[in-house]
């Protein structure tokens, strides 16, 4: 499935109210498909996707969660160990935007994260294709992000495939920035990857089957 074992593995969790398009976002990103009539997610869904940033490949392990309240106990166990958290709302749904705070708190609580300003959150305003029904302005988004110390936000449309790739790239870049900062501050042993250790492309070797006589 994953071509290169030297890729960095990143666990991404997508959170947000039911119906804001989390699964669509993931499906658009991973398989470039969009299903207008997709169902509610049951519990969680999981997909893998490689992404290239600045010549390095990252394998994103994306956990898409069910937004409905009744799934709460089912999704929260998956938060722990996440590298990136995508907080999602729909721009035509004010309440989903208001719930971002709740989602952030829920994530911080269950993922067991101490310094939340160190964690790469990214806020995604989905359904940017239906601007006519917009209820959340870009300004509101920025304000909220500023208040919460979140630096990455983007408006996407899973339907139009606009900004979807970019959103994930943005997320990984954000992660990279924080990671670099952490590396500088303290030389923490990182058990997921060692980027510096080896480069050079993977090639399972061996010359044909010619025998020299």
């Amino acid at each position: 499935m994953r071509s290169n074992h030297k890729n960095t593995l990143l666990k991404v969790v997508i959170l947000g109210d039911g119906g804001v398009g989390k699964s669509c976002l993931m499906n658009r990103f991973v398989s470039n498909q969009f299903d207008e009539h997709s169902f509610h997610t049951i519990g969680v869904e999981f997909l893998n996707k490689d992404i290239d940033i600045n010549g390095d490949t990252y394998t994103l392990q994306i956990w898409d969660t069910a937004g409905q309240e009744r799934f709460k106990t089912l999704r929260t166990p998956f938060y722990r160990g996440s590298d990136i958290c995508m907080l999602t709302y729909a721009i035509n749904d004010k309440s989903s935007f208001k719930n971002l705070q709740m989602w952030k708190n829920e994530f911080l609580y269950y993922a067991d994260i101490k310094e939340n300003n160190q964690f790469p959150f990214i806020v995604i305003g989905n359904k940017s294709d239906i601007t006519s029904e917009r209820e959340v302005s870009q300004l509101e988004l920025e304000t909220w992000c500023n208040e919460n110390g979140i630096t990455s936000s983007i408006e996407t449309s899973a339907k139009n495939a606009s900004n979807v790739q970019e959103a994930f790239i943005l997320a990984v870049e954000h992660w990279l920035r924080i990671e670099k900062r952490a590396d500088k501050n303290e030389t923490v042993y990182n058990d997921t990857v060692d980027l510096t250790k080896k480069q050079g492309e993977k090639s399972s070797c061996c010359i044909g089957s010619s025998d020299e006589n």
């Binding site: 499935m1 994953r2 969680v44 106990t73 722990r80 067991d112 070797c205 061996c206 020299e212």
Partner: protein, 1251 residues
């Protein structure tokens, strides 16, 4: 080369013992090269090696199979082995906990679950064992226990003498003080009924009859006993004294009353006779029949005769007619005479003749003839006697009798038939008075009897003493009461007495059996009916009390059963009756526990039964709750308390099923167990739900970061889940409780609140999984730390930590299987979580493992730093791989398939597909990640080998001419390491290793080349490297390895090129050019046409023409000629290089010149020979001829023929120019700065490229 190989082979032979498992490939290669050196012995060995890997593989496969087949077994095996290894003392599982379990079970338990290595489990206090196998063991134990109990119950129910000792013991433990409760109960009932009784007593007082009168009456009856059965056995005196005792009459009074009774006239007794039927009467008429009737009279008074009706033409008449015959003197030897007659109606002779046709047989004819003769002679007719029966009155008992009597006829021996008669005595008393007297008598006598004999409650079942019996029978007989009347009287009196002194319920049910029918048929007078219902009202509370107190401990289970049976029979009889209007059968003041609904009189027996059952259960439960209240207020204490409670309830239901359910259903059609269950499930739900939800919510969240599990100490981690085991034990208890309900009431179980019990535990499970990961990581760390990196045993190639890690997984799996989580959606999510967690643990394990072996195998001394592949490394890799291999079967065992199928049913196939997809992804991801970890580790190993190899390679290349053995050492080094890897690793990982080795080798060599080109190493340096590489490839590379290593093949080519002498290198350039030109379809430089052939040892060439030559001169044309070279130049050094004439100013010159180039046969045989046609533009001065273009013709394309050139086809060759300065060959030449030849060639080469 020869020397080298020879040396190698020698070394090989001497080293043979050491590297027994050298490689097939290498050996093959060597054998092919140096057959002479290979002895037959070594061939054999090689063959055996060839077989070995397969064998090894099969073995491993087998191991895996066995392992998968029986995990428990594997577990045992592994654990026991480890025990041996570590020689640790056994942990005996918490003795006190299992103290009550029979020793066999305990022993079994220990064997099934041999204590694991104490050290690992101690890390977390046996966390996983608690939830996994111990958990299961406990469940199994409970089940066995239940089963045993069930069997016991069944035994008891089957009325085999039960082994009650242990049963009771057990019960006593649970319900230590139930006994005391029963007394309480007794008083309660009596207080309930006090009111009623008092009223009855008053009743008694106000009845006209006083005791003395009754007593006198009894004395009178004793004096005038009737029937055969009394006076002989029990003397009058005995009866008198008994009566005096019973009625508590003083002697004076007695004598006075006796005197009075004696003075009274003897009673007018009647003999009641019922002529019921006769059978097999002798025929008296000509038609073979008789027309029988019976005449009866007393012997003393034979004039007073009674006749029955005549039954016509029958030999088996039924009369059922009653007669009362006054008896004059009771003491006489009087007899009742019964005569059966054939009625003969008055008929004339003529009428008799008319019967002729009805005559049957000869006998009948004779009779008719006789009759006719008789009638004809005396003109009159006569009834004919069939037979007589005589009954002496003294044979008739006081209670009467029903008997068949055979009929006799004087001087006839043969049987005349039999007659059935009922005979009894009676007097002409008022029925009402007699009944009343009887009731009082019964009451007084019974109370007296109970007082004197001290019968236990519920035991008296109608057995009076002979005296009492005699008195009562006499009264009944002398009053002429019917059995039904007597029954009603008894029923009423007994019911009354029952209130103060409980009597056997069998007594009532027996009486009811006799009363129900007459009641239904309205054969009982209104007053009696009223009395009956009043009595019933008094009786019922105690009946329901029995049902309510069904759990009351008695010394005799069988008796309890019997009691309940009788009670139910009573209820059933009453159910069959229509309650008279305006009767309140269940007054509220008595039935306080009854859930009364509605306004009307509450007479729903069924509902009352239900209420009684539920109330009984409720009382019992409250009692338990009050008396067993948990002293331990901790979570664990409370949970244990609930587990026990559910256990008790389950036992109760179980018992109710075994004992009573069938009874209730069969007798009153009431579903006892179901009714109980409905009550209990609600109760359990309300009790447990808030508690469990609360505990789950308060389970301490674990604060940890997966990456730094080392920082956590064991102390702070113990607490959060201390309640966990109990929590899940409770879960299982409730689960089994629910299963019980599903079996008990399949129709209703969906509506039970308890059905969704798992939701209470939801948070707990999620939390558990979360904590389990942390615990697992911690334990893995410890396991790796303790791993000595030695094989667990000889048959497997992994070490203890792998086993430990897998046992963690196994425990998680067992835990999950035990949960048997009913909800599909959450099951799916939990499985995803478990798989993800397992993946995380596996990766963590891989990291820990590689960290552990890092640094192993490094040797350093003053001369060198060396790395040797060690068994530890291989074990580490195998361990990880072993863990990886189990991932997939593990996930299958979690029951995914089942869950997906359920989602398909519950949701939609699309949803199911998505879930399946997610699970597949998670699994694939897990396996992939671990596999990558293995590759990473393999790379580390190989990279550790690289420096040594590099050094040896360089040494070898530099020093080989000085007879160095560094190549040998290199081969040995690689051989040793690869041997170890091959021996220890499985095929897949070994092949992976080989791939990485080649990759590394390619990279290393390239590095060496680059580095040494700059150092201007001689071609021989590279040639040596090239030879070494080929040797290695030939030796170690497996022929079936089809993966291509680009780096290696490129490196090989580089080595080859750089290893060439300059001449050869130049030719290589030309060959390359020839290949490139041949690919060109069209050329901008033009085209030349030639004819070439070999003839003998000569090359014959005809240069025909050229076309479209590129303009070289300023005039737009060119002055071209063609020179012919034969290449490689150094091999054709003595050969002419002929050229054509120059054709001026044309781009289409016609040369038409033929040349013969004489070469030797050896030269002709040069395989890669080339003919180069070099087309040049003649410079005016002739010094600086410019290249227009070149064309190559390889020897291989030149035909060998005797035909003249003219007959051959023209060969058109596109002209080309060298284009690249960056090819490997050119670069190699450029590196040979000191080489004149190379320098010159390059200079020319650049000219040939043109401007």
């Amino acid at each position: 080369m020869y020397e080298l190989l020879r040396g190698l082979e020698m070394h090989r032979i001497t080293e043979k013992e050491k590297c027994d498992k050298c490689f097939l490939q290498r050996s093959n290669a060597l054998r092919r090269r140096k057959k002479a050196f290979v002895r037959s012995g070594s061939v054999k060995r090689i063959n055996s090696v060839r077989k070995n890997p397969k064998k090894h593989q099969e073995k491993t496969k087998k191991n895996i199979l066995v392992k998968e087949k029986n995990e428990d077994f594997r577990y045992i095996q592994l654990e026991t082995k480890k025990q041996k290894q570590h020689k640790n003392p056994l942990i005996i599982p918490n003795k006190s906990k299992y103290a009550t379990i029979p020793w066999i079970l305990r022993w079994k338990f220990r064997r099934v679950h041999p204590t694991c290595d104490i050290r690992i489990q101690q890390v977390d206090g046996g966390f996983f064992e608690k939830f996994g196998s111990l958990f299961r063991e406990q469940v199994e134990l409970t089940e066995t226990k239940e089963k045993l109990e069930k069997e016991k119950c069944a035994k008891l129910a089957a009325e085999v003498i039960p082994s009650k000792l242990d049963y009771e013991q057990e019960e006593n433990e649970i319900l230590p003080t139930v006994e005391s409760d029963s007394e309480n109960e007794g008083s309660m009932v009596s207080s309930d009924s006090d009111l009623e009784e008092n009223k009855d007593k008053n009743d008694l007082i106000f009845t006209a009859l006083n005791i003395e009168e009754l007593y006198a009456e009894i004395l009178y009856e004793i004096l005038h006993n009737v029937g055969c059965d009394v006076s002989y056995e029990i003397g009058q005196t005995t009866l008198f004294s008994y009566a005096q005792d019973a009625f508590k009459i003083s002697n004076d009074k007695h004598n006075h009353l006796l005197d009075m009774a004696e003075r009274k006239e003897p009673p007018e007794l009647l003999l009641n006779v019922e002529i019921i039927e006769a059978k097999d009467l002798r025929s008296k008429d000509s038609n073979g029949m008789s027309d029988p009737f019976v005449t009866l009279y007393l012997n003393s008074n034979n004039t007073h005769r009674y006749n029955t009706s005549v039954k016509q033409t029958t030999l088996n008449p039924t009369w059922e007619e009653h007669f009362a015959l006054p008896i004059a003197d009771q003491n006489s030897e009087d007899m009742l005479i019964l005569e059966v007659w054939d009625f003969d109606p008055a008929e004339t002779v003529k009428e008799k003749f008319g019967k002729l046709f009805e005559v049957k047989g000869v006998k009948g004819m004779r009779k008719l003839v006789k009759e006719i003769a008789l009638t004809a002679t005396n003109g009159q007719h006569e009834n004919e006697l069939i037979g007589i029966a005589k009954i002496p009155l003294k044979t008739v008992p006081a209670s009467g009798m029903t008997m068949w009597y055979s009929l006799d006829k004087k001087n006839k021996v043969s049987r005349q038939g039999v007659l059935k008669v009922r005979v009894s005595f009676s007097s002409e008393k008022n029925n009402q008075v007699a009944e009343q007297e009887l009731r009082h008598m019964l009451r007084i006598i019974l109370l007296h009897e109970l007082e004197t004999s001290k019968v236990a409650p519920y035991w008296w079942c109608g057995m009076f003493s002979p005296q009492a019996n005699c008195l009562l029978t006499q009264h009944i007989a002398q009053s002429g009461l019917t059995p039904t009347e007597v029954s009603v009287c008894q029923y009423c009196v007994f019911a009354l007495i029952h209130q103060s002194h409980a009597l056997s319920f069998a007594l009532f049910s027996k009486l009811l059996a006799g009363i129900v029918k007459p009641l239904q048929n309205n054969q009982i007078c209104e007053d009696d009916v009223k009395l009956f219902w009043n009595a019933t009202k008094k009786l019922l509370p105690s009946c329901f009390s029995i049902i309510r107190k069904i759990r009351k401990k008695t010394s005799n289970e069988k008796a309890t059963m019997k009691q309940v049976t009788e009670v139910l029979k009573i209820l059933n009889y009453i159910l069959q009756l229509d309650l008279p209007p305006n009767t309140d059968l269940f007054p509220l003041n008595i039935y306080k526990w009854k859930t009364y609904t509605g306004d009307g009189p509450n007479c729903d027996i069924f509902g009352t039964i239900n209420d009684a059952v539920v109330q009984g259960a409720s009382d019992w439960m409250n009692y338990i709750l009050e008396n067993n209240n948990s002293r331990d207020e901790s979570d664990v204490g409370r949970l244990t308390y609930y587990i026990q409670l559910i256990q008790l309830i389950k036992t109760d239901i179980q018992k109710s099923i075994e004992y009573y359910d069938k009874l209730f259903q069969e007798t009153v059609n009431f579903q006892y167990a179901k009714s109980l269950y409905i009550f209990y499930q609600a109760k359990v739900s309300t009790l447990c739900e808030p508690e469990v939800t609360n505990i789950c919510k308060n389970l301490k969240r674990l604060t940890f970061n997966g990456k730094t599990s080392t920082l956590m100490t064991t102390e702070d981690s113990k607490e959060p889940l201390s309640a966990g085991t109990s929590l899940f034990e409770l879960y299982l208890a409730v689960q089994r409780f629910v299963v019980l309900g599903t079996g008990l009431c399949p129709a209703d179980c969906d509506n039970f609140h308890i059905k969704n019990f798992h939701q209470w535990f939801h948070g707990g499970v999620a939390q558990w999984l979360d904590i389990a990961v942390y615990k697992a990581l911690q334990r893995i760390e410890k396991a790796v730390e303790l791993d000595k990196l030695t094989q667990v045993d000889n048959t497997v190639k992994y070490s203890s930590s792998a086993v430990d890690t897998l046992s963690i997984f196994y425990q998680v799996k067992v835990f999950w299987q035990q949960l048997n989580w009913p909800d599909v959606e959450s099951s799916y999510t939990f499985i995803a979580k478990i798989i993800d967690d397992i993946c995380r643990c596996s990766v963590f394990y891989a990291d820990q493992m590689s960290a552990k072996v890092d640094g192993m195998g490094d040797h350093e001394n003053v001369y060198e730093k060396k790395f040797e592949v060690t068994n530890e490394w291989c074990l580490a890799i195998n361990n990880i791989d072993y863990v990886r291999e189990t991932l997939e079967p593990f996930t299958q065992d979690l029951g995914m398939t089942d869950i997906i199928a359920k989602i398909t049913d519950l949701k939609s196939p699309v949803d199911a597909q998505r879930c399946q997809h997610t699970l597949d992804n998670v699994i694939a991801n897990a396996i992939d990640t671990v596999r990558n970890k293995i590759i990473e580790l393999l790379e580390i190993v190989v990279n550790k080998m690289a420096p040594s190899m590099k050094r040896l390679l360089i040494e070898g290349a530099e020093l080989c001419n000085q007879d160095s053995n560094s190549i040998d050492r290199l081969m040995m080094y690689v051989d040793n390491n690869l041997s170890t890897l091959h021996r220890e690793l499985n095929e897949e990982n070994f092949n992976r290793t080989l791939s990485i080795v080649w990759e590394m080798l390619g990279a290393t060599l390239e590095e060496i080349i680059q580095c040494n080109l700059d150092k201007r190493r001689p071609p021989s340096f590279f040639d040596n490297l090239h030879k070494t590489l080929n040797l290695m490839l030939g030796s170690f590379k497996s022929p079936n390895d089809c993966s291509n290593c680009d780096a290696l093949s490129r490196t090989e080519r580089l080595l080859k090129i750089n290893g060439l002498e300059t001449n050869d290198l130049i030719h290589e350039v030309h060959l390359e050019m020839a290949r490139n030109f041949a690919k060109e379809k069209e050329s901008s430089y033009g085209e030349i046409s030639v004819k070439v052939k070999f003839e003998g040892s000569a090359i014959k060439v005809e240069v025909m023409n050229a076309r479209n030559l590129i303009a070289m001169d300023s005039n737009g044309s060119c002055d071209s000629f063609v020179r012919i070279h034969v290449l490689p130049e150094h091999k054709f050094s003595a050969i002419d290089k002929p050229k054509t004439k120059t054709h001026n100013k044309t781009q289409f010159p016609l040369y038409d010149e033929a040349f013969v180039i004489n070469i030797t046969h050896e030269q002709k045989a040069i395989k890669d020979g080339l003919i180069l046609f070099s087309v040049k533009d003649k410079d005016l001065l002739g010094y600086n001829n410019q290249y227009i273009g070149e064309a190559f013709l390889p020897f291989s394309e030149i035909p060998e023929t005797n035909k003249p050139l003219s007959s051959l086809p023209q060969v058109h060759l596109q002209l080309g120019r060298p284009t690249s300065l960056s090819s490997d060959c050119i670069r190699a030449l450029e590196h040979r700065q000191g080489d004149k030849l190379a320098k010159e060639f390059l200079k020319k080469y650049k000219q040939r490229m043109g401007s």
